[in-house]
Symmetry: D2
Subunit: 279 residues, 4 copies
């Protein structure tokens, strides 16, 4: 998908169920959404193997490719390459690693320090990951946090080029401006040196055609399923407690049968016929 | 809550985040919802320690008591009592175990066999759990599946009495009829021998006052947060893919800031001021 | 190895380290040894995913094939086939499942009940596993507990034939007699219908040539590394506490350098030279 | 034990079984031994939750206090304080954290860089841990790696004093010299400012009375059970493969019954009599 001539889209999921519901395109295993659903912060409070366990359920639940938001790789090059081996075993399509320090801070926070990794150190981390993968299709996306950390175009460009040269399959250029000016400036200077991925959470008003015109390869809709489910759960819980009854909720939510369908219960019913003795 | 003179309510949650959002009353750690969010079936496909990991995140995320839907106890008396120790360590308030066989089948399925446990075997399992707990407030709720399995009132009553005598803190009487006739019949015959819990997923139209009048102690709203989030995710994903844009979704879902609030990020910001050196 | 014309041998291991030390032949992931090293009983006190985690460390640590002692498959056909998928993902070569009930009891116990599975139910479980595997080389070994449970040759033979017909790649015929008479009788009656695996823990005095003469395909040395390490730890701890000093132990145990060698630290040193920036 | 007037001893264990076998004094949950038994390197290749899982099995298996070798705390102050909460839940008595950078390198390696943490950063990490614990008896031992990293007495003393002032219950002063000169120099300069713990793996020839005379509070025998079991497994595996028989090994190792005893199977037999229906 990264090298497709069309603008591609991938959608956030945060557990096996939401991964199964994203049947189009591909899945973004969002660090923010996964940490949030677990009930912890997007600051590496969950261990990398706890994230891996979530990814395994997600991978088992869907047939579309999954790109994991792997933060910084959860440590140095050795932690990152160990992750790559584990992700390959579990059928994950790729990992996006960002040039910050472990433990990381979510990029959309206001006013918190976002110290960047040393360029050479991070480039060698990418190289270690690429040298480790055994499936030639496994992707490493290098996420540049220069704009997030308050640096300008020169730093962003220098980093993107270094990471691409180190073997990154694509560059994710992140920005938390509410307009796409960071991305526009970068895309112009980048001049098609390789696929670019963006995350328009903050500049969501920008028409998608603009991204196509700039030459962006992929857009990640990064946290909207989680945010939608929070809204739904808040409303549902409030309504039920207010009414002390299910009566006003039953028709606003999916049926239990739909849950069974998403769990693929039909396959088990058929398997029970085949593999359980008749009474 | 089980012995309160009022009718109490507890609400389903299925991960740390939803547990945090249920701030009223208590939380039901639903087996259906937890398995569904993981992307597997409510047939003991997730191991008991995978369920325990979910419960730990849930317990860490909320201050209200959590009752785990512990299926059959995941094996015999020894597996069940081992679970009790692990739940106590993680601050879970109680476990509901049901008188079916491992691996279990969800009770709301139509036309699937629901073999029941031997009454003596199940009663001794309850006794083993009660003998094991070290916190006197830990609760064992014995769930009677006699109606679900197609048996009548006599079997339901016999089992409820046996389990209560074995030490169960409360009886959960389950029914999948769309009217409350099973429950009504049972409550009359039961004659206040101890607290009774119900799950009106199918007979959701029954006014809550009727449950009060019957003498029910607790109502579980068992899967509605999960079902609400599925609806929300389906709509959100469909809308975004249709529009190839976030523009029509942004205002229908909670903000990223609200996610940060639910993750309690403020506490971390303050802690960083206190525990990180000034640059 | 199961279909080799020679008598083959596999050796017990119980964690990543012991798996790495068994460089010859193959590894037996012993249920007794794994549960014992974890500190729990061989009665399915560890969950199947906890066993799977041990297997993943073992698989990562060795290049020889690993056969997991998978007890009963940890539930019904659905649990067993789910296990097969997970073992394949982790590079395990095969699973041995036994025809007892979940939770199981170790076969070498005296005087404890060893109820057997229904033959049809267990045969269908084997079939479900074989239908599930995607790697054609993955092996299912069907372990017959008829002798262990106090039944005779007829029951053992009937079960072995049923499981072989259901698709088992080999039969493990277990016996806890101190002489090989059970095995001899079975091998004669079996008449080369397929590979047979044995576990001579109790009849260890029988010369190995006898097993060759009977036509046995594989011998499992099932728990001796664990038992050797227990002896060594008991002696070492006792000696050190007696002396209140390390002086009499240092030369009786391997060096710290040997531990580093077993951890393959040299590879990391080289990788650090390659992937860490020069200071 | 840390504040006892006598010289105390704690012994390494690396899994539930070895923890159970250390019945005297206390247990050292060695990072080297735990990583080695898992089959990975002592460089934070196992995630902190994988270490926690090992600690839970160890805690369940023993009644003596366990001090975890918690490396650097597995990240910054927030990761370290999160660990403290999880260790308390699992009944672990304390954590030893060292003033190096994540991911760490084993201290006994020759010629590898051992960069130290900033003193203020590490002191605040200790303070965060102490502020987090809810059990007043939980201990934080601050391990000073100044000698290991090639610094001298001044740096070691400065760090020890800072960490003690930050709330550390004891200082672990590490040295990899084959004589106790580092420790002697430190103990003199330290002048009884608080309990000191040492790990005489390399200076094992020093008579224990010398440590008493210097005023050391606790000695850790840090990896000898693991090293003993490696020796035993190497010998046992080699012998069995050489003989192609168990005959020369059976009497050199403990019996299967001894394994059952260590697993506390008797308790389960009695529980089965109490909690399983009579057939
Ligand atoms: Mg992220
Ligand atoms: Mg349920
Ligand atoms: Mg076994
Ligand atoms: Mg260590």
């Amino acid at each position: 998908m990264l090298t497709s001539p069309n603008l591609e889209f991938i959608m956030e999921a945060h557990n096996g169920l939401s991964a199964r519901m994203v049947e189009e395109a591909g899945v973004w295993g969002s660090g923010l959404s996964i940490s949030a659903q677990l009930g912890v912060r997007d600051s590496n409070e969950a261990s990398w193997t706890q994230v891996l366990d979530v990814m395994e359920f997600m991978s088992d639940a869907t047939t579309v490719p999954i790109l994991l938001d792997a933060d910084t790789g959860y440590g140095n090059f050795n932690n990152a390459r160990r992750l790559v081996r584990k992700l390959e075993d579990r059928g994950i399509a790729g990992a996006c690693i960002e040039d910050k320090l472990f433990p990381k801070t979510n990029s959309l926070h206001d006013g918190r320090a976002q110290p960047l990794a040393d360029i050479e150190e991070f480039s060698l981390k990418i190289k270690a990951c690429k040298d480790t993968q055994t499936d030639p299709d496994f992707c490493i996306v290098a996420r540049v946090e220069a704009f997030i950390a308050g640096w300008g175009l020169d730093e962003a460009l220098k980093r993107a080029e270094a990471y691409r040269n180190a073997g990154a399959d694509a560059i994710l250029m992140h920005s938390k401006k509410s307009d796409p000016s960071d991305i526009e400036a970068f895309m112009k200077a980048w001049n098609n040196q390789g696929p670019v991925v963006i995350v328009p959470t903050k500049y969501y008003k920008t028409p998608t055609q603009n991204f196509r015109d700039m030459g962006v390869s992929m857009v990640i809709w990064a946290n909207h399923n989680l945010r939608a489910s929070v809204k739904a759960i808040q409303q549902t819980t409030a309504q039920i407690f207010k009414d002390q009854s299910l009566i006003n909720v039953e028709n606003e939510i999916v049926s239990v049968k739909e849950i069974f369908r998403l769990q693929n219960d039909d396959e088990l019913v058929k398997a029970e016929e085949k593999y359980l003795p008749k009474q």
